[in-house]
């Protein structure tokens, strides 16, 4: 069984609550993924980073990819060739100062080393979409767009975290006809079908104080469970 988390956003207490919940599971956790947004506005990051890098008694070492906040922080520090415009437009002009306060400069190299995502078995695990960390996939995203994200990487499952909510969209038995005319060949008619595929929003561990959400996934059966963990937030 895999545990898939996203959006801790500096909330160490929420992360600890999830780890405790994982220990209570009867099935062994074979992999622990964190789909970005380790950084964020919910708390200072230093202690969290230390915790992530030093798993205790039987905990899995988390596999971490970059998220929206990591991307924006790197842009802010002059990496990535852009400006942190998305953060500014979505969270206001104070956001950079607030982020700077919570993130130690010493983690810059570590942040730069984070991968864009993971492709494991027939699963793509990313923060946003297969195209960008800033894409916010949701149940409202047009189905043809969702399907395209999966088709691009030839995956059957796409796990993402940008929305910060648990959701699942199952795309079944998709089909389409296509006709191609060229200069020389006769008309080529094709019927394309697509096997069932699924987009899963894995929830957010740290965004809502007192309520952590993450996802459990059984790769052998394809079963998905959204876990909600209540905990006492820091005063």
């Amino acid at each position: 069984m895999w545990a898939i988390l996203s959006g801790i956003e500096g909330n160490l207490t929420a992360y600890e609550a999830v780890l405790r919940d994982l220990k209570r599971q009867s099935v062994e956790i074979e992999a622990l993924y964190i789909l970005g947004d380790i950084l964020g506005l919910q708390g200072p990051v230093e202690a969290l980073l230390e915790r992530l890098q030093s798993p205790q008694g039987g905990e899995r070492t988390p596999q971490i990819c970059a998220g929206f906040w990591e991307d924006q922080y790197l842009q802010m520090q002059g990496w990535g060739g852009g400006q942190p415009e998305a953060a500014l437009s979505q969270y206001g002009s104070n956001v950079l100062m607030e982020l700077e306060k919570r993130v130690p400069r010493s983690c810059l190299d570590w942040l730069r080393s984070l991968p864009f995502g993971f492709l494991e078995l027939d699963c793509l695990l990313v923060h946003g979409s297969s195209v960008s960390v800033s894409d916010e996939l949701s149940p409202q995203t047009p189905p043809w767009q969702l399907l395209d994200y999966l088709v691009r990487v030839e995956a059957n499952f796409l796990f993402c975290g940008r929305l910060g909510q648990c959701f699942s969209v199952q795309l079944q038995n998709s089909q389409i006809s296509s006709q191609v005319t060229t200069l020389d060949q006769p008309l080529i008619e094709q019927k394309a079908t697509s096997s069932p595929r699924q987009i899963i929003g894995v929830g957010s561990v740290g965004r809502v104080s007192g309520l952590a959400r993450y996802t459990l996934f059984y790769p052998t059966t394809g079963q998905i469970r959204c876990r909600t963990v209540e905990y006492a937030p820091n005063p």
Partner: protein
Amino acid sequence: MKIAVLSCIHGNYEALNAVLLDLEQHKAEKIYCLGDLVGYGPYPNAVVEMIRSLDIPTCQGCWDEDIVEGLNACECSYPSLLAEQRGKLAHEWTHERIYPEVRDYLAQLPLSLREGDLCFTHGSPQNQHEYLLPEMNAFAALERVLSTGANTLFCGHTHVPYVRTLEAGSIRLRVDYKGESGEETVFTTPLRRIVNVGSVGEPRHGRPNATYVLYDTETDHVQLREVEYDYQKTCAAIIEQGLPPIFAWRLARGLEFAERADDPSHICER
């Protein structure tokens, strides 16, 4: 109204003139150009000047972008390693000869243009370097059109013309959200079309003739045009001007020698 859509002129002034004559004979009232004005061919400045003097609405092609941004703009500008080696030579050649005002013009070209339910772009709406090949996954192809909001997407970049109609698509979906399991719904995809207009100056459909497209907005009819011209003139100029002779050889055969994409679906994540 009859619209002519051209792409990938690649500094081939002879071919451009032949196409302009042909579309005039067919009474095209408006011309759109999908970029790649420069690269490979011997007359990049003259081609740009002609396009500008005729006020032809033009999108930025992959070559136009690379000449402006420098080759480091994208490590994956070329479909294959062999294409890359040859392309680099052509890039340097073009880079050295191009006028500053031509570079400025190429720099300000838009990535796509819209007219009514038509969208014009070089590679794909998201990226000048993406190849929309006719065999691309139909759902992925449909997404490229739907993302523009247009009914018909005109593109180039592959240098081989085709028309692809996508229809009768359906996606069954079930949504679980906020703890609730939704009903199964069926999303029907609308009829959409991709028109690849081929290449004026560097065709790869197996013959040296220039290709472009005529589109009638009233009848919705697409006509793939193939125009003969004196390609030997361009071939001679390629060699005279010191460009890699392989470009002349390739032009004379209309072959995509060394240009077959290793991974056509690859997109530069810049």
